[in-house]
């Protein structure tokens, strides 16, 4: 399965694939182009994967700053605010583009969503929420959950969150290595584990909030009068 994880340069708009007809002037537009080269009308989103939408390689390792930079650059051209005085049809097309771009950004920005999406691209399904078939993982999660349920002080909640945070970081590193090696079985196993760790962190945060009494954030000292 090694080749599956290698970077693929998917359907980039290079004009060598068959052009499609512009919805406005009905002339040829290269597949994936954002604008018609002739009449400049914004085109509907091309059916490409989330990585291709930003011209990024299909890989788990991703430079988040680079993703942000490309996201901003694309939204600068496609966001509905840029089409506020255009025709109703152009506004609608721009909205569908912005929706596609936002969906791609949300998926790639979050490492867990990115890992799940990458597995899906490779045709590997992740396990449904309710089932853990891996007995080792099941055991670990049961123990963590029990530990969480016994927490009754704020300090204990903080310590638990610190430990869980370290586990999340380690899990991400494991996933990156697995994808890097093209070991999809390992990537899938660790992604399932990350999903549970993420849930655990959320619940620990909720528990900490219920225990309350957190020192005030210094920036909010200015009281309204």
């Amino acid at each position: 399965m090694n080749e599956a994880s290698r970077n693929m340069d998917t359907a980039k708009a290079d004009g060598t694939t068959a052009p499609v007809a512009c919805w406005l002037c009905r002339g040829p537009v290269a597949a994936g182009a954002l604008f018609c080269p002739t009449c400049r009308a914004v085109q509907p989103p091309a059916p490409v994967d989330h990585f291709a939408r930003f011209g990024l390689p299909v890989a788990f390792d991703l430079d988040e700053n680079e993703l942000d930079r490309r996201y901003f650059a694309v939204q600068r051209q496609l966001h509905p605010d840029r089409f506020a005085t255009r025709t109703a049809r152009e506004r609608a097309v721009s909205q569908s583009q912005a929706v596609a771009v936002n969906e791609a950004y949300e998926t790639l920005k979050d490492p867990l969503a990115r890992a799940e999406y990458l597995l899906q691209l490779h045709g590997v399904a992740t396990e449904a929420c309710q089932t853990i078939s891996d007995p080792e993982l099941l055991m670990e999660q049961m123990e963590r959950r029990e530990a969480l349920s016994e927490i009754d002080t704020r300090e204990a909640a903080e310590a638990f969150l610190d430990a869980a945070g370290r586990d999340v970081a380690a899990s991400l590193a494991t996933i990156a290595v697995a994808f890097g090696r093209g070991d999809l079985t390992a990537a899938r196993r660790e992604t399932t584990r990350l999903k549970y760790l993420t849930k655990l962190v959320e619940e620990a945060r909720a528990r900490r909030a219920r225990l309350g009494g957190r020192p005030e954030a210094p920036i909010l000292k200015t009281m309204p009068r």
Partner: protein
């Protein structure tokens, strides 16, 4: 052939602007409304003849007419029963919500009719919050027109970030009643960040703490090279300076005891506000309350006041903390905190906290109509979900998702031959339906008859850049579009809206027709532009006769454009499209041949 005017992507065409009025920014506040206009990225707050920027959001419904602003405030003393204030708190709300609002309500409510939106009883009149807000917006529009000497017909209107779909829809409806096209609903903290960020050339992560008269918002934004990206937002659409007033008024009324009516409450609230404002600069306030000829003396010191408002302030801090946590932002990494709203009253260096939202709205109105380098990327404040078995909520769009966003969900039937189903859409973070806010019930009809579980109905929930929800549905195996009927839980029905438009705008019909004509002309001009671009690129594909025929068709559209007949414009545009069809086919053939030959389209000089 000479290349005709072609606009770069993202560039907004400006010709024919003369047909349109000016675009302004309006901060439609609970206590005050502020209007501003921007030119060349410089915004100016529009003042009345006496130099006042704040238009009190108060409306008096007298027998001889409607008063808005200061004159309405003066009516409060004479005829409190005719005066409405703080109407923003009732936008998009039902009777049950209103009962839950803090304090004694200074309104007399009329029984709710269809739609479930709360109604106010003022003398003989029964009014919805939408109509009252429309009166305030009309006053704002007139103020701008008087100051600028030109017609104003479009606006960016700000809303609290935490406003739900019903309140946003109500705001948009109010603008329509006032004869204003809403270019965009912009979240108040986002508008404030825009005004502040552009003024200070700020970069980094900023927090906006916006405590207004009736609403509280806390937003985190990343400011980077002209991009204003909202990372997370939170708030309470029913928490603000009004709650401070209510707490003080309740104390005064308890001190004097005895019976109070609605008018008394309004006067007590007005006195409470005076006391609060006095305590901004002084340590103690003393005064009297004259209700129905019985005087009572009251005093309030700073410490007591701070004790009264402490629960509200604590709540804002808890919300702010939650937003920071949602975004995973450490307070220490913040570049700064922007305080907005009269209730913060901590002056920003040189931006007035009362005016900063309107300034941001004006800047955005200019950006939308004249083009801009700045970009606002906002998020949904509340999760959107649907009711499932056992009254549970299934979340479809999580809070803090960038907008516009669309998510699809598949449904099926549970009975053989079932042709309709009800979908209940709610907004909120809780797990049970009754703890979330009901937005609407959608009835899907026209599902093709099949055995139970066979239809695959794909329902798409879309939130646009205004934060407004639309729903569409389609049965996937047959491709049948299911009919979606919206029953807004707290909104106005389409019929009600149509009736109000008819009744309230003096020239409703002409107004509507004019707007449709403008839209038709924009479409037709865009069509001509596209044909001319195509001719500039591929005219060699046409015979002389064909070219002449197309030119003649363009000329006919241009003739129609110089008139005022919408049907003629549409007919000429449709004819142009028909005549150019063979030309378009030849252009596609050429493009495909070029692609097959391995040439890039742009190498062909297209």
């Amino acid at each position: 052939m000479k290349l005709l005017q072609i606009h770069e992507p993202g560039e907004t065409p400006l010709p024919h602007e003369d047909e349109r009025g000016l675009a302004i920014g309006i901060d439609l506040g609970t206590t005050n409304t502020v209007v501003a206009i921007a030119t060349n990225q410089k915004a100016e707050v529009i003042r009345d003849a006496t130099g006042r920027a704040l238009l009190p959001s108060i409306v008096a419904y007298r027998d001889d007419g409607v008063l808005v602003g200061e004159p309405a405030r003066r009516e409060l003393l004479e005829n409190p029963g005719t005066v409405v204030s703080s109407i923003k708190r009732l936008m998009g709300r039902g009777v049950e919500d209103v009962k839950a609002l803090a304090g004694v309500l200074p309104y007399e409510l009329a029984p709710a009719a269809e739609g479930g939106m709360v109604r106010l009883k003022l003398g003989d009149r029964v009014l919805t919050p939408v109509e009252v807000s429309a009166d305030i917006l009309r006053a704002a529009k007139s103020r701008a027109e008087a100051a600028l000497g030109r017609n104003v017909d479009r606006a960016v209107i700000t809303v609290p970030a935490y406003f739900d779909d019903a309140a946003r829809t109500a705001t948009r409806d109010a603008a329509r009643l006032a004869g204003l096209e809403v270019l965009r609903l912009v979240n108040e903290p986002t508008a404030a960040a825009l005004a502040y960020g552009l003024d200070k050339a700020a970069e980094g992560i900023y927090a906006v703490y916006d405590l207004g008269g009736g609403t509280f918002d806390f937003s985190l934004l990343r400011l980077e090279k002209g991009v204003f990206q909202v990372l997370a937002t939170g708030g309470d659409a029913a928490l603000g300076g009004d709650d401070f007033d209510h707490a003080i008024a309740a104390r005064f009324l308890a001190e004097r005891g005895g019976f109070v009516d609605g008018g008394d409450v309004k006067l007590a609230l007005a006195t409470a506000r005076l006391a609060k404002e006095c305590l901004t600069t002084q340590d103690e306030w003393q005064g009297t309350l004259d209700l129905g000829g019985r005087l009572s003396h009251h005093r309030l010191d700073r410490v007591t006041f701070e004790g009264l408002i402490e629960p509200f302030v604590d709540r804002t801090i808890a919300i702010s903390r939650g937003v920071l946590e949602d975004a995973g932002v450490d307070p220490k990494s913040l570049g700064g905190l922007v305080l907005v709203g009269g209730s913060t009253r901590v002056p920003l260096a040189d931006i007035d906290p009362d005016e900063v939202v309107a300034v941001g709205a004006a800047l955005q109105a200019e950006a939308l109509t004249a083009g801009s380098d700045t970009l606002l990327l906002d998020v949904t404040p509340l999760s959107l979900g649907i009711e499932t078995m056992g009254g549970l909520v299934e979340k479809i769009i999580e809070r803090n998702t960038p907008i516009p966003v669309a998510k699809a969900q598949e449904f099926t039937t549970f009975q053989d031959g079932q042709s309709a189903m009800m979908i209940h859409v709610v907004q909120g973070e809780r797990e049970m339906v009754d703890q979330c806010r009901s937005l609407a019930r959608f009835e899907l009809r026209g599902i093709p008859p099949m055995v139970a579980g066979a239809p695959r109905i794909r329902v798409t929930f879309a939130v646009d850049a205004d934060g407004l929800l639309t729903v569409s549905a389609r049965e996937k195996t047959t491709g049948v579009e299911a009919h979606v009927e919206v029953k807004p839980s707290y909104g106005l029905s389409e019929d009600e809206m149509a009736r109000m438009l008819r009744e309230s705008i003096e020239h409703a019909r002409e107004d509507m027709e004019r707007r449709l004509l403008v839209e038709a002309k924009v479409e037709a001009r865009r069509g001509i532009g596209a044909v001319r671009s195509a001719l500039a690129a591929d005219a060699d594909l046409l015979s002389r006769e064909e070219l002449a025929e197309i030119e003649a068709a363009i000329a006919r559209v241009e003739t129609a454009l110089s008139g005022h007949d919408r049907d003629a414009v549409n007919a000429a545009a449709a004819e142009l499209e028909k005549i150019t069809r063979p030309f378009a086919e030849r252009r596609m053939d050429r493009g495909i041949r070029a692609a097959l030959a391995g040439h890039r389209i742009d190498e062909l000089g297209l």
